[in-house]
Amino acid sequence: MSDLYAALEIGTTRTVLAIAEAESGKRLKITCHAEIPSTGVRKSQILSIPDATQSIRSVLREIEKRQLAQGSKVTIANAFLVVSGQHVLATHAEGQALVNSGTVGNDEINEAARVARQIPIPKGRELLDIIDQDYVLDNRGGLADPKGMSGNILKLNTLQVHADANRIRDAKSAAEGARLEIREPVFAATCAADAVTEDHEKKNGVLVLDLGGGSTGYAAYVNGYLVSSGVIGVGGDHITNDIASAFQTTNAQAESLKITTASAELGQYAGENARAHIGGFSSLMESRTISRRALDTVVNARLKELFTIIRETLEEQDILNHLHAGCILTGGGANLSEIESLAEKTLGLAVRRGRPLGVDGLEKENNPWNFAAVTGALLYAQKTDDSGSFFDGLFGRFFK
């Protein structure tokens, strides 16, 4: 029987649930996925647990419906939780081991990893991941595998990715309200990166930007490992809010304008007097038109600022110049027209949208980058399962 995995993302604009199956060591297949608009979430933060629970219930029902249409029913008991938001931080931690024999062996490597994993994270935080970076043997850094090398002190650099524990608890509470247990929280940006990058890209240096509704996560890889990661608390919702503010529209109208009409770049429309139509949303408002140029100016200003913040952040860490494989955009924000072009100009990198790799089941998706983070979480689940650490009895499965 195949192993089954589930991943849940309670995003600012949508709640996504995906389930996948694979035989041990085989390629993962996403058998069913669904997304519904989120309620009770603002800037990646749950503001109302009952509302978030309702969203989770709805997406579970949608999955059930789709499964039944496929002739099977999977009762999802638990899932990995994809976490985003500006409360997620990545901080450096270092583990050391004395090399008594003068030559690094497995014992020293394991000891350095053990020490790095014992370094406590700040109070009130929950650890999402510890990511090994490079080894330093005495003064020689950037080592991928120090085994057999000579030296006295071995250090392992790691990144501890952690999040506000209360936010995680809120998400767990919301899921539990829908009878869904959260097995493990995982970070959206690194999940998305794992889903859309290949090893050679990580070695050559690549940046993944996960453009969510409430925030934008980033993960930069150089020499094959994660060198920087974090979250900027600006997402697609900010673009919507900017449009609503500029043109005095409802959020629904602004969202519609963003999705159907707006462009990240200026001048991508015919004529200087091009107009965009805003439909009346109720009897209280009449339909009207607005200038396309003005609309795109609002969107362009916001996105240019966001990409500039990312660029400056990476420049300060001396990472930007090492990203030779360019930048990959994921998340719902990646759907915005001309966003690749603007990102290219602002970041000075080659930019593309990221299609999840290493999985089947998303071939028919028009915008597969929307599902990069949950796909990464599923891949992580499979990897964890294959390593045999846990994951027994997650599902009850019934075939009709």
């Binding site: 603002r42 800037k43 933060q45 500006q86 900027i232 608390g233 600006v234 919702d237 900010h238 809010n241 900017d242 609503a244 503010s245 500029a246 043109f247 005095q248 409802t250 959020n251 109720s282 009897s283 209280l284 408002m285 009449e286 009207r288 038109t289 607005i290 200038s291 140029r293 003005a294 100016t297 609002v298 200003a301 916001r302 240019k304 600022e305 913040i309």
Partner: protein
């Protein structure tokens, strides 16, 4: 606020308190209202009272000093909180130009916004004879109130009284006129009618609205509906347009004798006069005890924030922002929109939740 009412009346300053008490008296039922002032003597009378700036001003009032009143309000505005539980819509009556009305109204509106309570402000503007200082004080607060409140109705006192009115009586008469108008608005929302308008409907209506115009007339006799329309057409309160009308809220309050033809006359007349192609909402109140033989019409015109139809409000927002920067009160618009109560995102000291085009003063070509 009655036991079941989601609305609360707030009177700010001595004159605002006078208007609020006038509304309460005219309403004639258990209307709950809260008064706030820097002058402790305002507490003498009906209504719940909150003293602002007790430590700073010792209850002696702000003496017409708008900055002192604002600081007093900043000190103690949270004292209002216990009065605001369960409130879904706050109606504020105040007089701009003086100390407490000018200084505390904005802080009150901001506090309401922070608590997620929409506000409608009815604010009188000083008489011309009160001098340029008070006029300037009022103008300074107006733009900020427009930004902070959901809807603002500015009522120039000069237009509420006749030229022949006795000067000593003018203020009292003006306050009574405002009170009667607000009372009609209150009845429109609170009393059942054939076409009901409730607080939630008004909440939706005032989303994103800035300035409005407001007038109420009462007529009787066989042609009372046509007379009411005629009076509204001639009303100076509705005449001075700052911007095109976006929506009209019209309330008709009458007894059992209200005829369908009268509603048609009023509906058609108001739309023809103030905007045929704008959104129009009509509500009615049947209150035989209060309106027997009489008919009152309340009209609220919601404007487009200084924009031409179809044009965005950015230019206006930017210009208002610049004004706010140079204002002595130093209180600018938030611009955070739906992120108002969310955790802030800052970068190099900038609040990223505020639209980029506003923070960077990017002009939009419409």
């Amino acid at each position: 606020m009655t036991a079941t009412s989601p609305m609360l009346l707030l009177g700010i300053g001595t004159a605002g308190a006078r208007i609020a008490r006038g509304v309460s008296r005219a309403y004639g039922e258990n209307l709950r209202f809260v008064l706030t002032d820097t002058d402790a003597t305002t507490a003498e009378g009906d209504g719940e009272f909150t003293l602002l700036g007790g430590d700073r001003l010792a209850g002696r009032g702000a003496g017409g000093d708008i900055v002192a009143a604002r600081l007093a309000a900043e000190d103690s505005i949270s004292r209002l909180d216990p009065h605001l539980e369960g409130v879904r819509l706050a109606v504020i009556v105040t007089c701009l130009g003086g100390g407490t009305g000018g200084g505390a109204t904005l802080e009150t509106v901001k506090r309401l916004a922070a608590l997620g309570i929409p506000s409608i402000v009815f604010a009188t503007l000083p008489f011309a004879f009160e001098g340029e200082d008070r006029q300037r004080n009022a103008r300074g607060v107006m733009s900020m109130l427009e930004e902070a409140a959901n809807a603002t109705f500015f009522l120039p006192l000069d237009k509420l009284v006749g030229e022949s009115d006795n000067m000593s009586e003018a203020m009292r008469r003006a306050c009574d006129t405002v009170a009667s108008g607000v009372t009609l608005f209150w009845r429109l929302i609170e009393k059942p009618g054939y076409i009901k308008l409730d607080a939630d409907h008004v909440r939706r209506l005032i989303q994103g609205v800035g300035r409005g115009r407001f007038a109420a007339v009462t007529c009787q006799g066989p042609n009372r509906a046509a007379d009411a329309v005629d009076a509204l057409m001639r009303s100076e309160l509705l005449a001075t347009a700052q911007a095109p009308v976006r929506a009209i809220l019209c309330g008709v309050l009458a007894g059992e004798d209200l005829r369908l033809s009268e509603l048609t006359t009023i509906s058609n007349g108001v739309q023809e006069t103030f905007g045929e192609r704008v959104t129009f909402d009509l509500g009615t109140v049947n209150d035989e005890a209060t309106f027997s033989g009489r008919l009152s019409v309340v009209v609220m015109l919601f404007e487009m924030n200084g924009r031409e139809p179809g044009a965005p409000a950015v230019g206006g927002a930017l210009s208002r922002r610049k004004k706010a920067k140079s204002n002595p009160l130093g209180v600018g618009p938030t611009g955070r929109g739906r992120f108002n109560n969310a955790e802030r995102t800052e970068w190099h000291g900038e609040d990223l939740d505020i639209p980029t085009f506003i923070r960077h003063n990017i002009s939009l070509e419409f």
